[in-house]
Amino acid sequence: MDVKKEKELRDAEAMEQKNILITSVDKFLNWGRVHSFWPVSFGLACCAIEMASTGDPRYDISRFGYEYFQASPRNADLMIVAGTLTRKMAPIARRIYDQMAEPKWVIAMGNCACAGGPFADSYAVVPGADSIVPVDVYVPGCPPRPESLLFGMLQLKQKVQNPAKARLIKHGK
């Protein structure tokens, strides 16, 4: 992570220690969760190809522990919405999300899942997956490079490990 972010995190940590106490049990559970986000395979369109190539040996999602793409949402804890969410698919996406067990997180991968992308004004597209499922991390790009998706997953890791800090960091302006 870059230097500015590190400084922000340190300031937030100092603030956190005054406000919130994470118990050591929570810390241990978060350590387990964060080193094994198992995504449910929810590749909808072209971003699915980039998600697959993130799992390939060159960009290797496995070195973080995230390589086990689950076929069933009941076994997964992360939903990467990779691709255009059409209005016909929206109830199914919600159903998959509802079938996952807590704790669960969502990454919106690609411009289409973030805000509709090139098809934002289409009659058939939901402009952004965040009106259907609650998104934790947005990874922009068309498609985002595998390194971008990995950065997004590491951001999610930071968010889960330090929930208070993630709330306190000012994102952008």
Partner: protein, 162 residues
């Protein structure tokens, strides 16, 4: 580079089905009215030396005051290509289905129905193919108004069996 044999055959067919022939983008184009569309298609499929027996594509078009169904014909046995354009009324768009000539027209006609509202009589299963079954409106028509961001961001209730 349209061969003379094909040009002659299309000319004969045009006389039979009261159509007009012109050459557009290197391909002969035969424009007919919707009652004669099936006759034109069967005629083209049964041309003597240059049968256009492969339905390459079928699509709808909206030209403001009327709709059109465009059949792109080609052949796996020769270089011949033909485009047949059938004019369809806008108020009650009906045309006979080509499924008994080519089975592949099935899904293509469903797409034309879904996007333009053109009804194909004699089609075995004419229902929407891209949009969901209860969708109102025909999106590819020029006068279709796309719903606002707020309306599209709402998740609809899904019917069983869609």
């Amino acid at each position: 580079m349209v061969s003379d044999v094909l040009r002659a055959r299309v000319g004969e067919l045009a006389a039979r089905v009261y159509g007009e022939v012109e050459e557009c983008l290197g391909v002969l184009e035969l424009t007919v009215n919707y009652p004669d569309a099936i006759a034109a298609l069967t005629g083209a499929k049964n041309f003597a030396e240059v049968p256009c027996d492969f339905l390459h594509d079928l699509c709808g078009m909206d030209l403001g005051d009327h709709l059109e169904v465009v059949y792109q014909l080609s052949s796996l046995r020769g270089p011949q290509r033909l485009r047949i354009v059938a004019r369809v009324e806008r108020d009650n768009p009906m045309i006979d289905s080509a499924t008994h000539i080519w089975k592949g027209a099935d899904f293509l006609e469903r797409e034309a129905f879904d996007m333009f509202g053109i009804k194909f009589s004699g089609h075995p299963n004419l229902k929407r193919i891209y949009m969901w079954d209860d969708f109102e409106g025909y999106p590819m028509r020029k006068d279709y108004v796309i719903e606002s961001h707020e309306q599209r961001a709402v998740m609809r209730v899904r019917k069983e069996g869609e």
